[in-house]
């Protein structure tokens, strides 16, 4: 009797613990308002985390990008990159993000509930390498044009935008238009003084492909090209032979903005001094802002050392144009340096960029540059509606499976079947509680594994009941038959379950994402099933034996 009390006490304690583990509790999360500020909210929910395939959201795997040169110590670089990525993603204001390192060279980012795939990728991946470079004022590109044209001819490059018949007319017409357009006044307002020279066609036009494709802009070192030629120009200037042919100490960078002239879209490219006067490592703060004159801007602040250096360098370049280069792209229009600049500055986002873009840029700048470039290795994006459907489907399937199992058990084992079902109810409770306790993630394969494991959990009961029946057949009393049945079934139950646990453990070790979730569910389910079948159901039998003393028949 005391033994029985002890057993019932353990079951009660386990059940209470499980209910406690599953009891809905308050979860604090950080949310972002539409205007970009943060607030904390608390929501009440069951502490079982839904995987991305159920909640909807995005999974992102980032690898070190070694296409632009090998990275020496990848593992250490990834550790540093992880911190940067974490700061950025958490700054987006989505709750329950998981950012972790996988292996030695990969970062995994899980963002539940996000719908804008492109934005999240951009925020995580942008290297945010900020540089300030002075635009070329020596007409170096014009001088290098014959060489570039020769290289272009070797590569069979041809201008697709302007047909060969009237290139000259097109060029001069454009130059005339340029000074008159509004975009130039607004964006390049500072440039107005020096635009007088060079607005005509580039001197020394040899008729080569490159000379035809690019036109001089309004400031030294700025050029325009037709957007249709973009891919060609980008691959042309990425060529190492072409880079070698550029004037020494100069680099070509493409601009972020475009302009519309005569219904044709033109973009900008710049020739810059290769040596940056300053880089983003000294940046201490960045915040988005709008100004009526320049549209959306990001204001930044430099630390003291950066400020001193910036002041010294800009002092040397008064009257020059300073390109703000972020990840190899020239942001907005390079402003003219009117006087030495101290610790504060701003980046013009250019037209067509809304406040969200500025917020994201400020976030990325503040978190710092990535120590290594990252490339996207894997993206999984599940819409929230699909996640909801999956949950509903899994619950329907689970409910039907449970009903079928209950019917089968009751038909075959009657009263004992009823005891087994009571055990199964506790099994479900314990399994869910274990999952919550280990902070496991509930995925769709995990739910499927759970439904399956309910079926398998019945197996232990079936083994025991069949054994009891055999013992009863041998003419043993009910009490002995039950004891013997549980005793003899034990080795089979343990051996078969341990092998399954071993398989699941291997799955956990080598699986990824949803498969890991499946393995955890399977292990939790098997352990719970061993406890319920061998301990809980046995206690139920003992309880029944105690209540009905002297019973000679067992409904099994």
């Amino acid at each position: 009797m005391s033994n029985l009390k002890y057993r019932l006490g353990i079951i009660l304690a386990l059940s209470l613990l499980s209910v406690y583990a599953l009891y809905p509790r308050d979860v604090k999360s950080r949310q972002r308002r539409a205007d970009g500020t943060f607030y904390d909210t608390t929501t009440r929910r069951v502490p079982l985390r839904k995987g991305l395939d159920l909640s909807g959201g995005m999974h992102l795997a980032l690898d070190v990008d070694e296409s632009k040169g090998a990275v020496a110590n990848k593992s250490e670089a990834i550790d540093r990159a992880l911190k940067v990525v974490r700061t950025r993603i958490e700054g987006m204001g989505v709750s329950e993000t998981v950012i972790q390192k996988a292996g030695n060279d990969r970062i995994l980012v899980d963002i539940p509930g996000i719908e804008d795939r492109e934005r999240a990728i951009k925020i995580a991946q942008d290297q945010a390498f900020l540089q300030f470079q002075i635009t070329d004022k020596t007409n170096a590109l014009e001088k290098a044009l014959p060489r570039l044209d020769a290289l272009a001819r070797e590569r069979g490059l041809a201008d697709v935008a302007s047909t060969g018949a009237k290139p000259a007319e097109n060029t001069t017409g454009l130059s005339g238009l340029l000074t008159g357009t509004d975009t130039v006044k607004a964006a390049g307002g500072a440039a107005s003084d020096s635009t007088k020279k060079d607005t005509a066609s580039i001197p020394g036009v040899t008729g080569g492909a490159i000379s035809k494709m690019i036109l001089a802009g309004q400031m030294p070192g700025q050029f325009l090209y037709d957007i249709a030629n973009q891919d060609k120009l980008k691959s042309f200037f990425a060529d190492s032979a072409v880079q070698a042919a550029l004037p020494p100490g100069k680099v070509v960078k493409f601009g972020s903005d475009s302009t519309l002239i005569q219904n044709k879209t033109y973009r900008f490219l710049y020739l810059l001094d290769a040596r940056p006067i300053m880089s983003g490592e000294h940046l201490t703060d960045a915040k988005p802002s709008t100004s009526p004159l320049e549209g959306t801007v990001v204001e930044f602040q430099l630390d003291n050392e950066g400020g001193r250096r910036f002041q010294r360098e800009t002092g040397k370049h008064v009257g020059d144009y300073m390109a703000i280069v972020l990840d190899d792209i020239v942001m907005g229009f390079p402003p003219v340096i009117n006087s030495a600049i101290g610790t504060r500055g701003q980046i013009t986002m250019g037209q067509g960029r809304d406040l969200q873009n500025a917020q994201d840029l400020a976030l990325v700048l503040k978190a710092g540059a990535l120590p290594v470039p990252l490339k996207v290795a894997e993206v999984r994006n599940i819409g929230p509606s699909l996640g909801r459907d999956s949950i509903n489907n899994a619950f329907t399937a689970g409910a039907i499976a449970i009903v079928l199992i209950v019917i089968i058990m009751l038909v075959f084992y009657r009263f004992s079947g009823f005891l087994a079902i009571a055990g199964l109810a506790l099994y479900v409770l314990y399994t869910l509680a274990t999952l919550a306790g280990f902070d496991a993630v509930l995925t769709l394969p995990g739910l499927a594994g759970f439904v399956l494991s309910i079926g398998i959990a019945v197996d232990a009961n079936v083994l025991i009941f069949e054994r009891i029946r055999e013992e009863l057949d041998r003419g043993k009393t009910v009490r002995t038959a039950i004891d013997e049945g549980f005793f003899h079934a034990r080795s089979a139950i343990i051996d078969s379950n341990v092998t399954t646990i071993l398989t699941a453990a291997v799955l956990y070790q080598y699986g990824s994402g949803p498969v890991k979730g499946f393995a955890v569910t399977l292990i939790a389910g098997i352990v719970a099933s061993m406890i319920t079948s061998m301990f809980v159901v046995r206690t139920f039998f003992l309880l029944w034996l105690n209540r009905s003393r002297g019973t000679q028949t067992l409904s099994i």
């Binding site: 499927a448 399956l452 019945v458 699986g511």
Partner: protein, 330 residues
């Protein structure tokens, strides 16, 4: 008391030739399919882009194909996914060669389709983009996982039972792996991570079933030291038959409910599980038993079980493979 298959005395080992013949034929057909079509691997393994689209109206598949082709992704696979309003587009990574910007494929396809069907008429509910390197790792990990789980199980069984049982159980499970692969090939199911998980569950389930029978053999061998292994095996399979039937019916019921109601995403998983229950049951009886007999005859047991082993060996020795005795001695 409702009882099924109670007190049976079937000779399960006797028709082992027929059973092995059937399963070898099935596996052979599967391998031929595999040879012709190859494994239908999911983008997790091949790399590329998969988009699941939900349209407001059932669209014309030809239109989708033409649009995706025109967007610069010829040879993309377009498949209906569940309801006639849902489709998946699977594009091989054209960007793999360039090595950069894998994420652009989805963007371009979405833009092209929105241009054709109107942005409000379709919704991208799922996108999966996998770079080429990820697939290699996954394939390697999947193979390691399967082999390792077999080795670990064999070691565990060798400790708990003895090595003969371990080897027999693992060979039976290897058979299940092959026949499930054959089933995969014949059904043209897509091998994804989830399917690998299902495959490993089948391994676990089949082992589980074999062990239940072997556990009974272990027990019966201790009890009836005079009987041949052949007799004991048959007796044990018969004794565990009610349990086998009931458990398999229950698990099959759960799996069937998954197959029918749990949705399209999990369907390949459910198919594999359902087939795994069948092949797992089959192999525990018709593969594990005969293999155990065969091993026992090649490497008879020494020590106290000598009597039993030599009897089994003497009976079955002349032929290759477990023989069918005229009558089982009980």
């Amino acid at each position: 008391m409702l009882r099924i298959f109670h007190g049976t005395n079937y000779d399960f080992i006797k028709p082992w030739r027929i059973a092995v013949g059937l399963t070898v034929a099935f596996i052979a057909i599967g391998l031929i399919y595999l040879g012709i079509h190859g494994i239908n691997r999911s983008i997790e393994f091949t790399g590329g882009t998969l988009m699941q689209l939900e349209f407001t109206q059932p669209p014309n598949v030809g239109d989708i194909r033409a649009t995706v082709d025109a967007a610069g992704f010829p040879n993309s696979e377009i498949q209906q996914f569940g309801s006639p309003r849902e489709f998946t587009v699977r594009a091989a990574g054209h960007t793999a060669a360039e090595g950069a910007a894998v994420e652009n494929t989805a963007k371009e396809i979405q833009a092209a389709l929105e241009g054709k069907f109107g942005a409000s008429n379709l919704k991208v509910v799922r996108t999966e983009i996998v770079g080429p390197r990820v697939g290699e790792e996954l394939t390697r990990n999947a193979v390691i996982a399967i082999l390792l789980s077999l080795v670990v199980t064999m070691i565990y069984l060798a400790i708990r039972f003895e090595w003969r049982f371990g080897v027999a159980a693992v060979i039976a499970t290897g058979h299940d792996l092959l026949s499930t692969l054959a089933f995969l090939a014949i059904m043209r199911l897509e091998v994804s991570l989830t399917v690998i998980a299902a495959l490993l569950t089948v391994i676990g389930y089949s082992l589980n079933d074999t062990i239940i029978i072997f556990d009974r053999v272990r027990e019966d061998l201790k009890k009836n030291r005079t009987d041949s292994l052949y007799t004991v095996l048959n007796k044990s399979i018969n004794e565990t038959l009610p349990r086998s039937v009931l458990t398999h019916v229950t698990v099959a019921a759960a799996t069937l409910s998954l197959l029918l109601f749990a949705g399209e995403v999990i369907r390949p998983f459910s198919w594999i599980m359902l087939f795994g229950i069948v092949t797992g049951t089959f192999s525990s009886i018709y593969i594990a038993g005969p293999v155990l007999l065969w091993i026992e005859r090649r490497w008879p047991r020494a020590r106290s079980d000598k009597n039993l082993a030599s009897r089994a060996a003497a009976k079955d020795a002349p032929r290759s493979g477990p023989r069918t005795p005229v009558a089982s001695s009980r």
